[in-house]
């Protein structure tokens, strides 16, 4: 998680009062006042999510509804396929996909979740990117689509092995949902959209509710003794252990989907030889890289010892090497693996080798092993 300098006025989510009541330590993040942790602290909050169920306020994220002006869902899918290298025409109703918004250099503007809700696509965007995403989507899609920014809605995440058990009494439909299913349901009398997905590697749900219902829903879930409120600090350590990218750290306008090891998000129909190959910004570069590889690649990293390596630290092929062959893009301590973990980009050659690398940490070089991702196995209900 990167803390940003505070603008003149920070925005607040509908759960602000609840955060203060729960003794949250609030920090500026993407223009919002957000809870980085509560009284238990990041380590305990992290472990609680993997053991039971954690509730996160992620209302700072962007929610957009995209509808075809024609009234035909396929027209919205086809329009959206112009901006992401994803098969959306083939995305079934009540399903969602992870999608990268690309730029003309094949880099990434943002990473999104896109859900097909039959009469509209629901897009979840990163908080730091949502304003720029809105401008871009309107520029690219307005001819064929209406774009509605859903600022009157909150977003909560309930994550952990007990999430389904906690949510089922309130929303019985969740027991039939599998990973990446999306349902429109009624929750505490309001219109809610629930996806079975998240950013922790655990089973869980992301729950969109009207802003006015955010606090009642949160309190209802917190009334279950198995649920604890979890801050952005633990959200970051959980996603890092899960090998999930953070936009702005692991992904940016210079990283391509292939470099980022996110080729899996590009379905065959959008690749060379597919029925709708290319047709998104940077397609030439991305399609070429899908065939021939990219000069660098995102990898998992495990430093020897206990000292964390962190974003920005340089990586070298051997201890005395004068020039770096990569850089750490996310790093910290993994409470569930009880060791420092990190991700970074290295040359394709280094990524393919089993040789240890060396990270520069406070002027010293320490050995770092390449690691498969995720560091903790995922437990999605597939």
């Amino acid at each position: 998680m990167r803390e940003t300098p505070a603008p003149a006025v920070l925005q607040r989510t509908p759960l602000h009062r609840l955060h203060l009541e729960l003794n949250a330590r609030m920090v500026p993040f993407a223009g919002y006042e957000m809870p980085v942790q509560y009284s238990r602290g990041i380590l305990k909050e992290h472990l609680h999510v993997r053991a039971a169920a954690g509730l996160f306020d992620i209302s700072h994220m962007g929610q957009f509804a995209v509808r075809a002006r024609s009234g035909h869902g396929e027209d919205a899918a086809s329009a959206l396929e112009r901006v992401v290298p994803v098969n959306l025409i083939g995305l079934a109703v009540d399903r969602q996909r992870y999608a990268l918004l690309t730029n003309d250099a094949g880099g990434i503007r943002d990473d999104l979740m896109i859900a097909n809700q039959r009469d509209r696509f629901l897009i979840i965007a990163n908080a730091a990117c949502k304003d720029a995403d809105e401008v871009y989507l309107r520029e690219m899609l307005s001819a064929r689509c209406e774009i509605e920014r859903l600022d009157d809605r909150a977003l909560l995440a309930l994550q952990g092995p007990l999430a389904e058990l906690v949510l089922a009494p309130l929303v019985p439909q969740v027991t039939a949902m599998r990973f990446m299913d999306v349902r429109a349901v009624t929750l505490l009398g309001g219109d809610s959209v629930i996806s079975r997905s998240g950013y922790t590697g655990e089973d869980g749900f992301e729950i969109s509710v009207p802003a006015a219902l955010a606090e009642p829903v949160a309190r209802e879930l917190l009334a279950d003794a198995r649920v604890e409120m979890i801050g952005l600090g633990a959200r970051d350590s959980l996603r890092l252990e899960a090998g999930l990218c953070l936009y702005g750290a692991d992904l940016d306008e210079t990283t391509t989907p292939v470099e980022a090891a996110l080729e899996w998000s590009i379905q065959a129909s959008r690749r060379k030889g597919g029925s709708r190959a290319g047709g998104f910004p940077g397609a030439d570069i991305v399609l070429d890289q899908l065939e021939r590889g990219a000069p660098r690649r995102r990898v998992g990293l495990r430093p020897d010892g206990r000292a964390p390596i962190r974003h920005g630290m340089r990586l070298f092929a051997y201890r005395q090497a004068p020039d770096p062959i990569g850089v750490v893009t996310s790093g910290g301590f993994g409470p569930s693996v009880n060791a420092p973990v990190a991700m970074g980009y290295v040359t394709a050659a280094a990524a393919a080798s089993t040789a240890p690398l060396w990270a520069e940490l406070r002027g010293e070089r320490i050995p770092v092993q390449l690691s498969k991702l995720p560091f903790v196995p995922s437990t999605y209900k597939r």
Binding site: M1, R25, V36, Q37, G41, I42, L43, K44, G233, D236, S237, R306, A307, P308, R310, G332, F333, P335, P340, R362
Partner: protein, 125 residues
């Protein structure tokens, strides 16, 4: 004699030696600690120089030498369990012991009353 620094370290002076740790206020600000890097025994520290590093989940923070002297002992327990600094920062969570090379330097450190005043002014409004 117990003294404090502007950087929220405590200094326990007993005869010819000073024991250094971070205060309750500091550990609260840092959050859960996951790694501690202590100076080598017998290394020489200069007043105001970086002596140790404590790392939380989110970031690394320097601990500075409050006075000049030689490191005589480091606390292996906090290396093995950095959260000891969170749970007992003024006791079992001590970081290192050092000699006092220049006793007048002790006069530049704050007493407890002055440190309490500093903390009061550090609290967010």
């Amino acid at each position: 004699m117990l003294k404090f620094t502007n950087d929220h370290e405590w200094v326990l002076i007993e005869g010819d030696f000073a024991t250094i740790g971070i205060t309750q206020f500091a550990q609260e600000q840092l959050g859960d600690l996951v790694f501690v890097d202590l100076p080598k025994p017998s290394s020489a520290l200069q007043a105001g120089g970086a002596a140790a590093v404590v790392e939380s989940v989110k970031a690394a923070s320097d601990v500075y030498a409050p006075i000049s002297g030689e490191v005589v002992e480091i606390n292996q327990r906090v290396i093995d369990d950095p959260t000891l600094i969170n749970s007992d920062p003024a006791g079992a969570g001590w970081l290192f012991k050092m000699t006092i090379a220049d006793r007048p330097q002790l006069d530049k450190l704050m007493d407890e009353a002055a440190y309490q005043a500093l903390m009061a002014s550090s609290q967010p409004a």
